[in-house]
């Protein structure tokens, strides 16, 4: 079957099977490999993307389900060479080690800040609890999100 949807602001038409996941179509058919395949069952959050502005786990969404809708992946955040505020904050706080979980965290953080531009540390921790990081620990990730929110001042 053919589906048509907006990916990072660009209309895309793609042939998919009814049993294909959005995650696989993004990575294998549209070569958007920034979205990571972690567990495949909705446990780790590495595959988080925005669907019509809401965060979803793309391993739990059928590709057929996004027909006519809007998907934003990590590749869609930067404007040209200019990184998004959340991406910048992750760099500045060193909130990245192996980097595998980072796209998922950044998309989740983006969604949090759209919903709640001034979150408390507790609210940040609560919101990102569906995203797992196996190497850095969460301290710098939380700091980066608070920095992006302006709660922690930007580095001059």
């Amino acid at each position: 079957m053919e589906i048509e949807f907006t990916l990072n602001g660009v209309r895309k038409r793609v042939q998919v099977e009814p049993n294909e996941l959005l995650l696989n179509v993004l990575r294998e058919k549209l070569y958007m490999t920034g979205t990571k395949y972690g567990c495949g069952i909705g446990e780790c959050g590495a595959c988080t993307v925005l669907l019509d502005g809401e965060p979803v786990l793309s391993c739990l969404v059928l590709a057929a389900d996004v027909d006519g809708r809007e998907v934003t992946t990590i590749e869609g955040l930067a404007r040209g060479e200019e990184l998004d505020e959340v991406q910048k904050a992750f760099v500045e706080e060193g909130a990245v080690q192996c980097g595998f979980c980072t796209p998922g965290f950044i998309i989740t953080a983006k969604s949090l800040l759209m919903e709640n531009p001034n979150p408390s540390e507790e609210e940040v921790r609560e919101y990102i609890k569906g995203n797992l990081c196996r190497c850095t620990g969460y301290m710098n990730i939380v700091k980066a999100i608070l920095r992006a929110a302006g709660v922690i001042p930007q580095t001059p």
């Binding site: 079957m1 009814p18 049993n19 294909e20 996941l21 995650l23 696989n24 567990c39 495949g40 069952i41 909705g42 446990e43 979803v56 786990l57 391993c59 739990l60 969404v61 059928l62 057929a64 389900d65 027909d67 569906g130």
Partner: protein, 282 residues
Amino acid sequence: MVKVSGVILSGGRSSRFEEGDKALYPVGGKPMIRRVYEALSDVADEVIVAVDSVGRAERYSGVLGDVRFVLDKAGVNGPVRGVCSALEEAGGSRVIILPNDTPFIEPRLLDILLKASEGFHLASPIHPNGFVESAVMVLDRLMGRECLRMASGLGRRPRMTDLHRGLPKVRLINTRAWRLSPRTLLNVNRLRDLETGVRDVEGPLEGDVEIVREMVGGGLETLRDSLWQTVRGGDPWPEARLYLEKGAYMLAAHAFMDSGSRELRWLGESLLRILATGDEEI
């Protein structure tokens, strides 16, 4: 020590599914039953698969990890057969029950249900329109077993909702209030269930629903406003009113379906069709 047992119900014949045994049909490259198994093994201490034949156990064992198979209990009819046999075998005091055709069940839903079941005998999801996902639940093993034993003796085909209607304390968690994606409970009966998009279910229900019934005597049969009174007395109203007031409309439909009155049984069946969120077997 096994505290939480997980059960995958796999006794269905996939009669409406066009591609053979649906449990083995791949979604995202993994058989549906494998996806359910992975979500379940994340939160349960043991996983039991309830099947209707040895052949089926052999077919599934190749795609699953460490599981035990149990055969459907003889003498019990309908979809609760697998639950009955699994409850006999389960080691945990609480049992998570899932069908094998819900490939998008996420571990977060199971965490929410487990927490919600504390202090209750059963927890299941409910949609904002009052439709209860009755085959997805966390169940108190001993109470559940007793309830199904009694339901099997009522002289009619036992239903999954007999558990929701026959236990003293039941908690229904609202999918909208918990921001659960409607996809997480997608039930695949036909191939087209995968092709057509999942829509949010509209409805008036805002929060969770708690059904707490008083036991007048020593046994479940003395539970007020329950399945037991409706089936024995033929008057569904005390039980149905409890559900209607709280928004658990699907349970009210089932209470009407057990009525002595033909008109109320018709009403119950009609209400159930209106509430159905997809292609459920009613």
